[in-house]
Symmetry: C4
Subunit: 279 residues, 4 copies
């Protein structure tokens, strides 16, 4: 399925740039997706800052995080984060590792991030912590060994994200749009929680509210609106990814960049194509 | 009155984009106005992020929040917020629902927002809270049922805004310019209040100062200056709404975008036309 | 001296836009200068947001804040702030009134702003407060009556700035460049002071350090660098003021906008012309 | 070696603009490098705001901070900071002095900056303070006398940076890329530390983690990625330095600005050329 694959590579580049544009990723961090046709592989960029990634940078890896083709470029040192989670979580098709400023204070203070508003429920009721030091002693805090990746995946368990002490966070999703939403709203939630703490009281959602509001994140009503929003914000900076070399696929995002009207066939088709792809 | 209506649809799109550009709205939130000729209807966009709304997206709804014409597009789930407030408040002709970062810490901590500077008095002396949980137990926190909308309208009472626990705020105005000013200054007030709290003391305006300063918000001296300011800031980002399909009306904002001179007939007329419309 | 006057009107527009671009002014606030040839008059814009002001907007006022020519446009309500200070302070040739977010928490909490870093010493050792309520009871907090302006000028005394409770600040300078530097560094000082307070200790400069570091602000080494810096930052946003109608003067700032080279005659001349004017 | 020298002058301008673009430098602060061919000289710009510096502004100085050629332009008052550190630290080839907002609260409160995340370890385990007042009493806080520069260099000792009370920080590097990374990550670390403090606990890295993570900063994997990232971010603002007058060297950064593809010879060569230069 060459088309699906080239779409997937484009969307990996797009998601990386979106999350960089929204302040979740910076010089570091990376987003991967499971191969659309082969669940035993995943797609991740060569070592590069997320905001600069192009479809041509996106390579295939086995779940042992070995490149499928011998690489001529430098690879991310921390790709085992992705491979080990895809091994441990068949339900996961998208992974993001980041050092977003909004979560760092919690990773440093060891204070849990709790759901404090409806969209923040995307992360679930409580987020586990993983302290590399506990199992591996003094390290440079990069997750590079398979056993480190497996340990992180165990800490993640069945949650939507895991906080890494002194390092950052790793977020997962059932699809790329859920991943992007969860990553962004988790940062907003952390920011609001810190400032509510400064006002003197952090009141959390109930377990019931968290479950019900958390489901919002999967509603097309929500994910299509946020996807269109973050894509247009990126497009307005001129930051949309270029087309892949020799790609025939017509990227939906590029069409959105070219027009602001909801009535052009281009985007209409794009949206439907996307919906179908997400089933 | 086709012209008034097309002006109103343009201004709904403009106000949505203005408030998105000023950080009050983001992927979510919406601004509506009462139909200029028929008080039993209101104008609200199809489901779309506020910063992207175009006049053609703006549809008519009855005060029961039913679309007047069968819709071919997705609608906001929370439009009962608008309909129920227009039913309960004949004096209100504009409504904004938002999740602005500046108010979220107060919605989470349950700390009241109080007037701490002259422009912040736009919100009035005290803002009521509405906790959906109190009356409806565990929900996903969206306000979608008519009874939820009516409950919110009761909590709003005769105030200028209501804070929604764990969710955001809903603001009302006697006209669109008052609504936009009140929404923005209420966020500034919340931000200053939080930082004054960090300094150790939140001294509020007196009841008398709040009443007198609150009236500033209705002075043309103030609303025309802020409207020009926020329109130009939006225009500089290239974010002004496009003209409606086949619209003959000459949008005042577009003329402001085209020229920076206060002496061109275009804007002069625009301002007067607007003033008249606001009576 | 038509040339000096048209230069002065251009610089009033430029200073307003600079301070708006640096976050000191927003929809509100205003900068004035004393008439370069007639100390019994001052130059202030018609009522308009600072970031939009053009040389043609700048009008002449007597020190009683009456327009010298019958105005065809709306005037600022608070111009007595300027007139009363020029009456009370012969040494002052430039005045700025603002509601900068950085100072508002101090105006609300009533906490004094103290010099905490070398450039912050621009404001002097301590800044007085003026609470309109003390002398005038409940008002809308605008300074519109001559007696209100005189009371504010008394509170300012011989200081570089005065904080206005629940309202903002008014800053003065011996020339426009000192005023702009003092306004911006006073905001930086307030921001650093608040965050040092959050760390647990606000250590201030000694009286001697404040006196010595405060004088930096008058060194051409400093004011020329900051003036060039803030002008270029404004130029990069495309926000430089347009030329005055029929003006023959070649604005120095515009030349800076056109070229980035320090060696073009244009800017060289501009700088010298400016230096001379400041003596 | 004219080419190396013109490359070095270009890179000094580039580093100054990068650090201004990332919020480390503003109207003030400066970056210097040791002369690539003559360790008894260093390269520093004429007195100018960092974001505006061009290769033609970069002059040669002896380690006594005297200009090698009689200057026709104004020089930085604080250049002894650079000269005295190059004298005291043969291992140092790049120096940055700044007043970054992120570090100022620590310089005011006298609270040490400690490593709280892996990239923040770039600064080393503890950063010393230097209070000019201790040795020199009341000053304007500028470091202008040779004895002041030598005193600062003594306080720096063998560390990666020194905090200057009420003033800012001075950072050193074994090469320009390490200096830029250390300066930026030290600011991020300070920001995260302050917000972790607000959450109630600042947990630091262990000595072992700090040593291991600190070494990340020297990994080409890291420095090449961050250098590409900060260069592209600067390029997108249109802020890359112009070519030096009559320079034949093809600046690597400019090539990056022209293309976004990792496969063009231009950047590939640039990267290798750079690597070689760094050995």
């Amino acid at each position: 399925m060459p088309d699906n694959l080239s779409d997937a590579r484009y969307e990996v580049a797009l998601a990386n740039r979106m999350l960089a544009n929204e302040g979740v990723l910076d010089a570091f961090g990376h987003v991967s997706v499971r191969h659309p046709a082969d669940p035993s592989r995943y797609l991740l960029s060569r070592s590069r800052s997320p905001g600069l990634i192009e479809p041509d940078d996106v390579l295939q890896f086995t779940l042992d995080s070995e490149p499928v083709a011998p690489p001529s470029v430098q690879l991310y040192a921390e790709r085992v984060i992705h491979g080990c989670i895809y091994q441990a979580r068949p339900d996961v098709t998208a992974v993001c590792h980041h050092h977003a400023p909004a979560v760092m204070p919690f990773c440093i203070a060891g204070v849990p991030i709790v759901p404090v508003f409806h969209l923040g429920a995307a992360g679930g009721e409580t987020l586990p912590f993983w302290n590399q030091r506990d199992e591996f002693g003094d390290t440079n805090l990069l997750v590079v060994k398979p056993e480190e990746g497996r340990s992180l995946a165990r800490a993640l368990g069945s949650h939507g994200a895991v906080l890494m002490n002194h390092h950052g966070a790793t977020v997962v999703g059932r699809d790329l749009r859920e991943l992007v939403s969860r990553s962004i709203f988790m940062c907003q939630n952390a920011d609001y929680q810190l400032r509510a703490h400064l006002l003197g009281k952090v009141a959390t959602l109930t377990a019931g509210e968290t479950k019900l509001a958390g489901a919002l994140n999967a509603m097309p009503n929500v994910t299509n609106r946020t996807w269109e929003y973050w894509t247009l914000r990126l497009a307005r900076t001129g930051g949309l990814p270029p087309r892949a070399t020799g790609s025939k696929a017509r990227p939906q995002a590029a069409s959105e960049a070219r027009t602001n009207s909801p009535r052009t066939p281009a985007r209409g088709q794009g949206v439907h194509k996307n919906r179908r792809r997400r089933k």
